[in-house]
């Protein structure tokens, strides 16, 4: 648990440092490069298929339709991975790209 706390703290710190400098459109392009193949709608999207089973009908299966995912939650999943989704390394998605990605994906986010 201490480990997870520290990880989250690191990710949040990285987000805070990098988000302001993000170039426009960066988040969307990172999403299209790394996430779109598994989290879109339609056939052949393993992320969407898995999340549909996980949440039944209580949450949308397509990530971009979610309103409950904060940038921080998204960043945590990207760096830790979950189930069959492995984490993404910094040579694949830099901290600055992650911040832009998380902002882009959380554009519908509604604070609880």
């Amino acid at each position: 648990m201490r480990a997870a706390t520290a990880t989250l703290a690191l990710i949040l710190a990285a987000l805070a440092g990098a988000a302001s400098a993000a170039e426009p459109g960066l988040g969307e392009s990172v999403y299209k490069r790394w996430c779109v193949h598994c989290h879109s709608s339609g056939r052949g999207n393993p992320g969407t298929e898995s999340l549909r089973v996980k949440y039944k009908d209580s949450l949308p299966a397509v990530l971009l339709d979610r309103t409950d995912l904060s940038p921080q939650a998204i960043a945590l999943f990207v760096r830790q991975g979950v189930l069959s989704m492995p984490p993404f390394r910094k040579t694949e998605i830099t901290d600055a790209e992650l911040a832009a990605l998380a902002d882009y994906m959380a554009s519908k986010y509604v604070k609880p």
Binding site: M1, P46, E49, Q80, P86
Partner: protein
């Protein structure tokens, strides 16, 4: 699900209240149940001292090495904090969180050939073991983790240029970080009329996949990824650059035209090898075929598996069937799919010929499938298996995610993939072998494996793959490992050996290739010692260890 909700809300609250430690803890507490946390990290500045040292290297020396590397590649591209190094763990490791898990001490990510040379030279001077990866998506075979714990991962993902695609001569020259999705995008944007041959996971490296012995799903010979490469550039352990084949000729204009060049061919040393760091590689591409048509042939008597495979082999050797044939069945019932790629008229004629040949097997059933013309329109592409049409994707991961039948799967898997003879007799023997041994190896059916899946990606070859689910549960992982080891032994007793295996089983499998007192392994060791006397490049990969790490 409530847990998940509360985690997401807590994470949001944590952000709002940052850096209030209590809400961070709450977020992490809830998060820990879903996303497995990496080991306790410390602040992630590039200068953080690594908590693990490469074996045999002092902290003082390692610091010198890291400082030199930072000077070469920049501080952002040398990773030493626990959190950053944890990103190199094998997410599907069968030893997850156990002492035997193969883990790195640090990672370094050069962007140019000259940087790779400089990084390797310093490593060689201080005897720091390196483990080169291209895109590091070698899931099911070791991920991005090294074969020898404590190695520094040499992450080549940033070397991501497509250097050349020739439509006229149908080849590509790429750097290691280029994945199939990138190469496909490059070709599509440039509107070139050539196909790539993707493996199921499109995010893999064209080079990395070939170097691990991977295979894809379009036509022969392109499905054999190492087999269809043409020319390499390699950095040796002393930092020297070698170009193979025609690339050794200064001003050569045919590096990607002829793979043999002049004199003894050395490219094979780098397949599943540890003799160098590959920095460029050429690959043959397939000119877009006009059409593809498949058919299914079914037999329903056990003995008919024999003529079924013989006919298939003949048609493949005649280059009449060139697609990735899919073989299914058990007991008396077997079926094979025979995709044919080519000009429409020719495909139709070849299909007629196949039909006649298979008709000689009494009671066999031949069902012709739809002929698909290329390029595929969006609607057609949406209903076919994309990789069969040269289009990379990641849909294969559905087999590891949740589904209605299996709502909480373990998430990962590893493959046991022995090569068996391409005959009906061997197929039946293997099938019986599997069912006979299943009760004992599976603890009376309590361990669920997937398979066997019969793969024919390589010409004349039949790989009978069994997949073992792997997750984060140590007890289940231990059982799966034991079962895996048992299959390796049982198969080797029959003369069946694996084509590829996860890093943690590479010694086990190398030891089954033991003809004449392991003379093949000993020969490789001799070459290893000559090319890499300090044993710094990927020690242990595929069972080849440098002198100082060999068991007597």
């Amino acid at each position: 699900m409530t847990d998940r909700r509360s985690f997401l809300q807590a994470a949001a609250a944590a952000a709002a209240a940052m850096p209030a430690a209590s809400s961070l803890a709450a977020a992490a507490a809830a998060g820990a149940q879903a996303a497995t946390p990496p080991p306790a990290p410390r602040p992630a500045t590039s200068a953080t001292a690594p908590s693990r040292l490469p074996p045999g290297v002092s902290r003082a020396d390692f610091n010198k090495v890291l400082t030199a590397w930072r000077g070469t590649v920049g501080g952002d591209w040398v990773f030493t904090s626990d959190a950053d190094v944890a990103l190199y763990r094998d997410a599907y490791s069968p030893y997850w969180d156990e002492p035997e898990e193969r883990v790195a001490s640090a990672a370094v990510a050069p962007q140019t050939l000259e940087q790779v040379q400089a990084v390797v030279r310093v490593a060689n001077q201080y005897r720091v073991p390196l483990y080169a990866i291209s895109t590091g998506r070698n899931l099911a075979y070791g991920g991005s983790a090294p074969a020898y714990s404590g190695s520094v991962v040499l992450d080549l993902k940033r070397m991501n240029r497509v250097l050349e695609v020739s439509e006229r001569n149908a080849y590509a020259l790429v750097e290691p970080g280029v994945n199939y999705l990138d190469l496909y995008e490059h070709i599509t944007r440039a509107n070139l009329d050539v196909w790539i041959d993707p493996p199921d996971p499109g995010w893999g490296s064209v080079i990395g996949n070939a170097l691990d012995g991977g295979g894809g799903w379009t036509a022969s010979p392109f499905r054999d990824h190492f087999g269809s490469h043409c020319g390499m550039e390699v950095v040796l352990a002393n930092g020297e650059v070698v170009r193979t084949g025609m690339g050794a000729l200064p001003n050569s204009k045919s590096w990607q035209h002829n793979k043999w060049g002049y004199g003894p061919w050395v490219d094979g040393l780098f397949r599943q090898g540890n003799m160098g760091v590959v920095t460029k590689m050429g690959f043959y591409l397939m000119p877009r075929p006009e059409a593809m048509q498949s058919a299914t042939v079914q037999v329903t008597r056990t003995e008919d598996a024999v003529p079924l495979i013989d006919t298939l082999n003949l048609l493949e050797s005649q280059h009449v069937v060139n697609g990735s044939t899919q073989l299914f069945g058990a007991g008396a019932s077997w079926s094979v799919q025979i995709p044919i790629y080519g000009p429409e008229k020719v495909v139709r004629a070849q299909m007629e010929y196949c039909k006649d040949k298979f008709a000689k097997i009494a009671n066999s059933r031949f069902t012709e499938g739809e002929l698909v013309r290329t390029p595929l329109d969006a609607a057609t592409l949406a209903r076919v298996r994309k990789v069969n049409f040269g289009v990379p994707d990641l849909s294969t991961f559905a087999m590891l995610g949740r589904n209605a039948q299996n709502p909480s799967p373990p998430g990962g898997h590893i493959g046991f993939s022995p090569i068996i003879p391409r005959t009906g007799e061997a197929l039946l023997e293997y099938s019986k072998f599997y069912t006979d041994n299943l009760p004992a190896v599976s603890e009376r059916g309590t361990l669920r494996f997937q398979g066997p899946v019969y793969m024919t990606n390589w010409d004349r070859t039949l790989v009978a793959m069994i997949m073992f689910p792997i997750g984060k549960d140590k007890i289940m992982n231990a059982k799966m490992r034991a079962a895996f080891e048992k299959w390796v032994q049982l198969a080797a007793e029959r003369g069946w050996g694996e084509y590829r295996t996860p890093a943690v089983f590479q010694d086990l499998v190398a030891n089954t290739y033991s003809y004449n007192n392991r003379s093949l392994t000993r020969m490789r060791e001799t070459i290893k010692d000559a090319l890499d006397p300090n044993g710094i490049l990927s020690p242990g990969r595929y069972g080849v260890w440098p002198k100082h790490l060999r068991k007597a």
